[in-house]
């Protein structure tokens, strides 16, 4: 193992000794794939035939007019198969798993998107699949659990710790230290030990590469600002990845502001000052932790952003000021989602709606010559239970009550 994978002081590979040869193997396979041009072509072909790449860019005509400032464009990652950018990373790692000759994949999932994407990939490639999901998340994301199981995955409800994403990651690592010989761990975001942050960002950079070409073709210039929500940071790294050399493009990462500042109220590691540098889950970054280094509970209306750490590459870009970090509150996010649905007919996931909320705050202060691009990392219609709760829809509640009563009657009648 080499001492690599650092982005200034962030990153590294703080892994148990038993996994050292596995990480060496993974890093070699990843570097070989990067050097092999046919691999990226194979990846692009797969994504254009199995998913919907290149995903289009949509101009928000109505909201641009209403807000009266910058022209608002949206990169449509929601049109990927399984409804989110997660598919990019997962299919890329699927190809890599096949190259390494492994037969089984495991993954963690918070909201369930990454779990569904991994189960989909496993079904397509013929891998066995186990998904670790916090018991708390299993309870609130049944529709995703349903699809994972339909696709043949085993879903393990993790009852340890806070029963959310970080605990699912720990549990996936515990599986991996037993089964590394035939198993690849498909980590879902640009976090974890090297080479995961770099590798996941590489697969996701397909978003930014397409976006740059599309915006140039569409408007004849690059956008002034780009907005992406940041949980672990993979969709942000993906879209930012196409514009890293373009110093006039401002990159804005939007974290989960939850109920506002204060430990336990949010999941904003970089926009607020509640997080400190630490080492957990195999890498060094900003964590929401106490003075002893114990991880703290986080809160967000969107399960996908509800995480204690953040990509080490983004922590680095925060310190170098290459990316500006903001936080959007739960209330702002739900409003931004409803506004987008009503005025444009697009249904951004609650995660993605963080980016929309911040863009809507800033667009009116910009001029009509300026363009902004929002990464719509996923769609919300598959999260209908969560969204219906977030918007407190009484008709939906009645529907669930009626449905439950019908099931109960059916069971009683045998």
């Amino acid at each position: 193992m080499k001492n690599s994978g650092y982005y200034s002081q962030f990153g590294g590979a703080y892994i148990p000794e038993i996994l050292v040869p596995t990480f060496d193997e993974l890093e070699s396979a990843y570097l070989a794939a990067r050097e092999d041009e046919s691999f990226w072509q194979e990846y692009k072909d797969l994504m254009s035939t199995y998913s919907c790449r290149a995903t289009p860019i949509t101009r928000l005509d109505n909201l641009t007019e209403q807000l009266g400032g910058a022209n608002i464009y949206v990169k449509r990652e929601d049109l990927n198969h399984t409804g989110a950018h997660k598919a990019n990373n997962v299919m890329g790692q699927g190809l890599l798993t096949r190259r390494m000759g492994k037969k089984r994949v495991i993954a963690e999932t918070g909201a369930g998107q990454h779990g569904v994407a991994t189960a989909t990939m496993a079904a397509k490639f013929g891998f066995d699949c186990t998904i670790y999901m916090g018991a708390h998340d299993v309870a609130r994301q049944r529709p995703n659990v349903f699809w994972m199981e339909q696709m043949g995955a085993t879903v393990v409800a993790v009852t340890e710790g806070s029963q959310t994403l970080k605990d699912a990651i720990n549990e996936a690592f515990r599986d991996w230290v037993s089964n590394m010989d035939d198993t690849h761990y498909v980590l879902g975001t640009a976090c974890g030990p090297h080479p995961f942050p770099e590798m996941v960002s590489w697969f996701q950079s397909i978003i930014g590469i397409e976006s740059r070409e599309q915006m140039l073709a569409r408007t004849g210039k690059l956008p002034e600002r780009i907005y992406a929500c940041v949980g672990g940071g993979s969709n942000a790294m993906g879209i930012f990845g196409g514009f890293l050399e373009d110093k006039n493009v401002e990159l804005v990462g939007v974290e989960a502001g939850g109920r506002g500042r204060g430990r336990g109220q949010h999941a904003a590691r970089l926009a607020y000052d509640d997080a400190t540098i630490g080492v957990a889950q195999g890498y060094k970054t900003y964590f929401l932790q106490d003075n002893d280094g114990q991880m703290q509970d986080t809160h967000s209306v969107s399960a996908g952003l509800d995480y204690v750490g953040v990509s080490p590459i983004l922590s680095h870009m925060h310190e170098t000021k290459e990316v500006r970090f903001e936080a959007a509150s739960d209330t702002e996010v739900v409003e931004a989602m409803q506004r987008t649905v009503r005025n444009e007919g697009l249904i951004p996931a609650l995660e993605s709606s963080h980016a929309f909320a911040q863009a809507y705050k800033e667009a009116p202060d910009m001029s009509s010559d300026e363009d902004i691009l929002i990464n719509m990392s996923g769609r919300a219609d598959k999260d209908i239970f969560t969204v219906a709760d977030a918007v407190h829809d009484p008709k939906w509640q009645q529907f669930i009550i009626d449905k439950a009563e019908a099931y109960r009657a059916e069971m009683q009648n045998g």
């Binding site: 590979a13 000794e17 050292v20 590394m180 630490g278």
Partner: protein, 259 residues
């Protein structure tokens, strides 16, 4: 190679009288600090030769269900790093066997690595096991440990090639901790010919005393290890006994191992 450390000398001295030593593992503050002290006392009286004291962490990635639960319960009951140091200090004052800390790197990192090591020194700790800190990431830790003459103990595994065993040994003092199998703590281990061969490789790769842990839980397991290594490490099983039969049952269990 540097001079033998306090830990290595203590192990070699104890080995003059016994053909295999027993090391046990507790999580400090689980179920509370008073019980931790009582368990240490019982273990020392029952004949344990050295002990690992785990400072609880919220993300114990390398631990299985038993120790994982002990970590989170200890934290829920209010365990802190400062209280763990205070307990270790008292334990070292009262009992005359070597004590090691086991914890995860974030505990050291957040405390300050140099400050952590100097607190270990003043608490009388003779070695540390930090399972998520490979030597390549741990230069500051290694320098501080060597300067304080406390032993950084690294881990050999059945997946570790001989060349890396030598690298790990070069960065260790005191002893080497060999995990008997893949996986996390607290699951069953097959005490087989494969294990014997692996332990022979471990023996060839270092001059330091060897301890074997992961799945060691009975007199038979220890008999298997006798003559092959220096120390048998019983970890999760003592915690399991404590959970099933109470703190008072630990002494009787240890006596069945050393009798």
């Amino acid at each position: 190679m540097a001079n033998p450390t306090t830990l290595e000398l203590a192990i070699r001295k104890a080995r003059e009288k016994k053909d295999i030593l027993l090391m046990t593992h507790i999580v400090l503050g689980y179920p509370n600090f008073d019980d931790s002290l009582r368990v240490v006392e019982d273990m020392v009286k029952a004949g344990v030769d050295l002990m690992e004291l785990q400072i609880p962490f919220s993300e114990p990635m390398a631990d299985g269900p038993v120790i994982l639960k002990a970590n989170s319960e200890a934290l829920k009951a209010g365990a802190t790093v400062e209280k763990s140091f205070a307990a270790a200090e008292r334990i070292n004052r009262e009992f005359d066997i070597p004590f090691l800390f086991m914890t995860y790197y974030n505990i050291l990192f957040c405390y300050g690595v140099d400050e952590f090591v100097s607190r270990c020194k003043s608490a009388g700790i003779t070695g540390c096991i930090v399972p998520d800190l490979p030597p390549a990431e741990g230069q500051q830790y290694l320098d501080a440990m060597h300067a304080a003459e406390i032993s950084p103990v690294h881990i050999f595994t059945p997946k570790t090639p001989e060349s890396r065993m030598r690298h790990l040994s070069d960065n260790s003092t005191g002893m080497i901790y060999c995990v008997a199998r893949k996986g996390v703590t607290g699951k069953d281990t097959a005490f087989s010919d494969d294990l014997s061969q692996y332990l022979q490789l471990c023996r060839r790769s270092t001059d330091l005393p060897l301890g074997v842990g992961f799945g060691v839980k009975s007199r038979e397991d220890i008999d298997f290890l006798r003559g092959k290594v220096d120390i048998a490490v019983v970890g999760s099983e003592t915690i399991r006994v404590m959970e099933q039969d109470g703190v008072g049952a630990v002494k009787g269990f240890i006596e069945t191992l050393v009798a």
